[in-house]
Amino acid sequence: MASKSEQGVWETFVRRPGDLKEGVETPMVLRDLRPGRKKYQMRHVIAMVTRQTPETTGSDELRIRTVVGVLLPESYAINILRDLPMELPGIPYHDFYQALKRAAAESPG
C-alpha cells in the first residue's frame, strides 16, 4: 500500500450532482494538487472512481468541486487508467465535457 505522502491528490469539476459515476471507466479532467510550482496542472484521463477512502484502498484521492467551485465534503478513491490528449478535439465555445466523452469513446481501451 502506498504511504499517504506518495498518494496523488487530484481535483475535478462536475456540472451536475449525478455526473460522477462510480465503478465505471469515466473520462475526466483532473488537476494535480501536489504542492509546488506545477500545482493545478491539468490532465485529461480515463479513470475509475469509488467512494472509498484512500486509506483503505491505497489509491490516489479525488476531490470534487461543483460547477460554481464549491468543494464537496466527500472524497473518492481514483484509479487513473490512461491519458487522453491535452489538445482535445472539439468545437471552441461548445461543451468541453462532450468533447471529453467523444475522445474517450475513440481512445483505444
Binding site: F13, Y40, M42, V68, L71, M86, L88, P89, F96
Partner: protein, 476 residues
Amino acid sequence: MFSDTRDFMDALRASGDLHEIEKEVHWDLELGAISRLACEKDGPALWFKRITDYPPEITVFSNPMATWRRVAVTFGLAPDSSVKEIYAEYEKREGKLIPPLTVQTGPCKDVVKLGKEIDLFDLPAPMLHDGDGGRYLGTWDMAVSYDPETQWVNWGMYRFMVYGSRHLTGFPRPTSHLGKVFQEHYVAKSKPMPMALVIGADPISHFTAAATYHIGGDEAALAGGLRGAPVELVRCETSELLVPANSEIIIECEVLPDCVGLEGPYGEYPGYRTGEMGNGILCRVAAMTHRKNPILTVDATGYRDDSSTITALTGAIAIKHRLERHGIPVLDVNVPREGAVHMAVISVNYGGEQVARAILETLTSRRALISKILLVEPDIDVYDMGQVLHAFSTKCHPAHGIYVVHYEGRANTLTPCYSQGERAMQKGASVLYDCTWPGEWSREWEVPVKATFETIFPEAVREKILSEWKNYGFKE
C-alpha cells in the same frame, strides 16, 4: 505620460497609492486574498516582492486601477479628482487618435523562449480565489488578435488560465470582439488564430484593452490619443502581430480552431463565480518573451475590481455616444462602480415609453452587458447615487414605469441572476426603470413639486438664507 508599468508604479508610489510587500506571499490563494481585501477596503495597488516557489527576480503587481484615485493618476489628473472630472477627461481625450509607431525591438525581448524552453509555470500565476478552475495568468492583460479580412487588430482584456506548461484556456465571451473574429474567420476555416497575450504594458494600453470601444476601432491609436503620444509596438517572434515594446511579458500563442480545454469557473467582475465553465477556447503557446526581472500584473477580480472603474467609465461614455447617435435626448450617463458594469444611470431631457423602449433596443441589439437601467431627469446628478436612489424610489411608477426586453444569443453569461440554462443559451433580459415624470402631466397642475431647498423656496428666500447662514450660528 507613462511609457510602461514601472513608470506608473513610480507615480503611484509618489501619490501614496502603492503598497510594497516585502514579506514572502504564496501565489496559492494568499496573494489573491490580500489583493481582494485591498479592493474591498479601497486600498492601494500592491507590489508583491517575494512569491513562494519563485525567484525574487519575478514579482507581482496587483489592482492597478481599482480606485478612482489610480485612474486619475493614470490620466495625469490630481489623485482626488471627482468621478465626474475623470469621466470628462476621458471623453475629452477619446476622440483624438494617435497611430502607434513600430520599433525594431524593445525591453519585452530581453528574454526570449521558444518551443520546449517555454514553461508557463515559470511565472507565478496566482490561484486568485478558492475554487477557481485554475491559475489565472491573464487578468490584467491585453489579448492582441487580428481579423484577416479587414486587417483590424483588436486589443481586449480577457481572462486566461494556465492549463499546462504550454497551454492556456481562456474565456473571451463568444459575443466579444475576439470571440466574434475567432469564430467567423478562423474556426469557420479551421485555421489557428495567432494571438499575443500582453502582460504589464503601459497603463493606458491596458485601459484601452478593457474599454468599451466599437468593433473595428483602432485601440492602439485610441491608446496613443489618450496618452498624448504613440504607443511603440514591436513584432512578435512567431507571428506578424505587434505588441507594446515596453511590456513586461508577452505570451505568443495560436488559438486552436478544433480543440477545447476546461476553462473556469472563475470569480469574475460581477462579484460572483457564476459557474460559467467548460465553454472556452484552448491556446497553444509558441513563444514567451519578457523583460529582465518581469512584473506579472494581476486584477484581483470580484466586487470593486479594476473593471468597476475603467470598464464602467468607458462603458458609460460609449452608451452616451450610442444613444446620441440614435437620436435619444441623453444628457449624461454613469455606470456606478458598485453596479459591477450591470447598471447604468442615464439622464435625459424627457422620458416616457417611446424613449425607454428606444434606449433598451439600442443597448441590447448586439450584445447586452447592461441589464438594469435607471432613467432620470436633468435635475438628478447621475454621479450622486443618493439622488438617484431618491428618484427611483419616488418617481418610478411600480406598474407603469418599468420596461423589459428579452433576448437570446447575446446575454451576458456572467450575469449572476441567470440560471445555468439561461447562461447556456445566452438568454436574458434588460429592464429600464423610468424615473421621469410622465410627459403628459402638467407642470403647473400635476407634477409634484420637489421638496428640497433648491426647489421649494423662492429665490429671494434662498439667497437670504445662504447669505445669513453663519449669522444663524452655523459654522459651515
